[in-house]
């Protein structure tokens, strides 16, 4: 039996750090989120995409390392929020040092095929924390729900900070 450090009601999914398992992580998260009646369908989609991006980054962080490394997804719930933690054993990174993209109207914009994941996560969920260490990275994603849902609901149409869509 693996270590169940933390909340007794947590659910853990541990997958090999390989692209074919990101779909399973999405399936588990959307199944758990939809049994949580207070989370609207489009917020479930947001959470699913954010977790998928975090898992993709976690898997890519292992690319140059031992292929037998694994990614852990930990789901937990509280009265007013639910939380998904994605842990990897990669080299870590400094989220403050990520480049920002040029404005979308700049022809240079097309040179950025990458780097869309973290801004997406930031804009889709209510709270995200990146906790890189020498042992790997832990990404903690929080969605408020239950009685407090409306207070915290983000408007998905507004470009988040980190994107420059100004002309």
């Amino acid at each position: 039996m693996s270590s169940s450090n933390g909340t007794p009601s947590a659910i853990e999914l541990e997958i090999p750090a390989r692209p074919e398992y990101v779909g399973l992580a999405r399936l588990v998260v959307s199944s758990l989120a939809s049994s949580r009646r207070t989370l609207a369908d489009d917020r479930i989609d947001d959470l699913k995409l954010a977790v998928s991006e975090a898992c993709t980054n976690a898997i890519e962080a292992h690319v140059d390392l031992d292929v037998s490394e694994r990614v852990l997804l930990r789901w937990s719930e509280a009265d007013d929020h639910l939380q998904v933690q994605v842990e990897d054993r990669g080299q870590g990174f400094d989220p403050r040092l990520l480049p920002t993209h040029p404005p979308v109207t700049d022809p240079e914009r097309l040179n950025f095929e990458r780097g869309l994941g973290i801004p997406l996560i930031r804009s889709l969920v209510d709270r995200v924390e990146f906790d890189p260490s020498d042992d790997g990275t832990s990404v903690r994603i929080v969605m408020f729900c239950g009685p407090f849902e409306n207070d915290f609901e983000a408007d998905g149409e507004v470009p988040p900070p980190g994107f420059n869509t100004a002309g």
């Binding site: 692209p19 990101v22 999405r26 489009d42 995409l49 998928s52 993709t56 097309l110 997406l120 470009p159």
Partner: protein, 111 residues
């Protein structure tokens, strides 16, 4: 996890209909298909996303890469998308201003 990729010709527009989930696992197949079409001389491509259930930043990256490649051939890559949850990903990233997004394949090939 399957990714469906169907190519049809509509006059001088090549429509690539994508079905399923586009993520880090399946996006390489989409990229290969786009590269193949461009190398066959198809420079006017519409990617139909109506049957896509999921699209992440890897998928966005492949589409941006395709657009860039086609522009360098004086071509274009446009999209067909009306699904709210897929459109939202383009909106958040500002890519609605980079791609021409049609409401139907008819719109796209008539345009």
């Amino acid at each position: 996890m399957d990714l469906g990729l169907d190519v049809t010709e509509h006059g001088d527009v090549t429509v690539l209909a994508v079905r399923g989930e586009v993520d880090v696992y399946t996006a390489p197949r989409l990229r290969e298909k786009l590269v193949e079409l461009v190398s066959q001389g198809k420079h006017n491509i519409t990617v139909d996303l109506e049957a896509v259930d999921f699209l992440d930043s890897t998928g966005l990256g492949v589409l941006v890469g395709g657009l860039k490649r086609l522009r360098s051939h004086e071509g274009d890559l446009s999209l067909v998308c009306t699904q709210h949850r897929i459109l939202k990903v383009f909106e958040i990233t500002g890519l609605t201003k980079v791609f021409t997004i049609h409401a139907s394949v008819d719109d796209a090939v008539g345009a």
